[in-house]
């Protein structure tokens, strides 16, 4: 077994008496297509927040390439190569699509603090941002402000910003949430076309998406890992069916 890209050991988080994450031992392999599922309130987003440094854990460790990053702040983890998208869009709404991606690319290239040369004269940044938009079929919208875009397109900008960071680990928090089903295929295609070397962890409620995309699935219930396996194993696990998959059929 190869060394994991991202790993947690005994990770736990309490909010007062509420246990949001409990003894999570999790591994994300290089190039993985991993899904995290679980009923509402299972602690999926909390787990992502612990991985990205938005929250600090109460117990346990987070390791990236076998180095302890538990104490690193969010921005430092991004610099190491961990990027995420948000369940609810967090974009620069007043800026153009191109400027949104520009900010991410400039930050990664380390030129975002430069004060003298105009931003537009950083051709490398502009070109790379445009290339990303082209890959995600967003270049027609490059000049539009975020606020002018339909929600589905905005979700793609979320993805473009994350990809602009050239991550090794990409955490996608419900990338297709809130997108009309007629448009969701654009997101799904984009997710399917992500570079192979990136380790991807996706949270989603859409079981079609999860089973199509994932090579491995972790089921989170009540803040703890409930089951983990291949889609086939998870699909066949009667306990998982009970707590999660079966609910709709029973109802």
């Amino acid at each position: 077994m190869s060394a994991p890209l991202l790993e947690t050991r005994g990770l736990g988080k309490n909010f007062g008496a509420l246990v949001a994450a409990r003894d999570i031992n999790f591994r994300l392999e290089p190039g993985a297509r991993h899904a995290l599922i679980g009923p509402n309130g299972a602690g999926k987003t909390t787990f992502i927040n612990l991985l990205t440094g938005v929250l600090l854990p109460t117990q346990g460790q987070v390791l990236f390439k076998q180095r302890d990053i538990t104490a690193l702040q969010q921005a430092a983890r991004v610099k190491q190569g961990i990027a995420r998208t948000f369940q609810i869009n967090r974009l620069f709404r007043g800026l153009s699509v191109l400027e949104n991606v520009y900010i991410a690319v400039a930050e990664r290239l380390g030129v975002a603090g430069a004060m003298v040369k105009p931003a537009g004269m950083r051709n490398d940044v502009v070109e790379e941002a445009m290339r990303l938009l082209d890959v995600l079929k967003l270049s027609d919208n490059a000049g539009h402000r975020i606020a002018e875009l339909p929600y589905g397109r905005q979700r793609l900008v979320e993805l473009a910003i994350a990809l602009g960071l050239e991550p090794e680990v990409l955490l996608l928090d419900e990338p297709a949430a809130g997108v009309p089903s007629a448009e969701s295929h654009i997101i799904l295609d984009a997710v399917a076309a992500l570079p192979k070397h990136i380790g991807v962890l996706i949270i989603d409620h859409d079981m079609d998406l999860v089973f199509r995309f994932a090579e491995r699935i972790t089921v989170l219930v009540g803040g703890a890992i409930f089951a983990e396996g291949t889609p086939k194993e998870i699909g066949a696990d009667p306990r998982v069916r009970d707590v999660y998959l079966g609910q709709a059929q029973h109802g």
């Binding site: 967090r90 930050e107 990664r108 004060m115 105009p118 960071l165």
Partner: protein, 336 residues
Amino acid sequence: MSAPGLSEHPAARAMVARHRLRAWEPLPWILAFGFYFAFPNHLGFGTDLLIMILFALSLDLALGYAGIVTLGHAAFFGAGAYAVGLLAHHGVWNEPITGLVIGAAVAGLIGLISGLTLLRTTGLTLLMLTLCTMALLEEAANMGEKYTGGFDGLPNLPIPPLFGLFEFNPLYPRVQYLYVLGVLFVCFLFVRMLVYSPFGQSLTGIRENVLRMHAVGAPVNWRLITCYTISAAIAGVAGALWVQTNTYVNLTSLGLDRAATVLIILVLGGYGRLYGAFVGAVVYMALSHFLAKVYPTAWQLGLGLLLMLIALFARNGVLGLWDRLMGRLLSRRAPP
């Protein structure tokens, strides 16, 4: 492997060209220069106006671009003012140009030190802390009567001629006007360079969505501190100019009145757009000048009404209103 054509995309071309000088941009400077010849008897008013523009420009960098909500920006205007005033009064240093540098350094330092703590907060807390910083400085200037002249301030400061050649004549402030105009121009070019740089772009990112800025790995706090320090330094230059051209310093340079006025000016003109400071200062100063003459007892009422109208119907100030009008005209003219 850059795909050809992408850099020719209109959005990419707009991004590449957005910092270029637009055709109308020399206009404010031509007007300011024309004012010198057209109104030789109002150059004192003109000088004060230019200083307010510079002060509002400094606030625009912090408030309009980085979204730092402050109600205490006069702290830095006052810091620059008192730095120059104290040194001149006590016979330590009074050369004008270096005085500006000293004013900028002192105000910038106070911006840096206060920014280190208060920029960790946002919203109402930040607003109150900026107000407190200013109140502390004001009270210090008030209590340090022995050095600062307390409530009365320091009158009749000896300011030597500019470059040793051009005398500041209090009755005919021609030199003052051109001096302030020159300094404003240099500071404006500096601010303009900043806001179109990647640094300026990241400030707008912080303003638009600070959580996302953390998530793209930006050192948000340092960017804000840097911005706040630069903004404070420019406000300090404005304060230093105010003292040099008026040859006195007093508590009005540091008070809530001034802080509120500059905020009103920026909101009036439109924030986060460089020229809002110009339009806002002209509208505010011209209007208060005019109203004070016509209704000496109730002139502030007129300003209050105007502000209410702006707040209700033109959230982005006079320039925002202008944009909307032009947008409507253009879309009507465009073929369906």
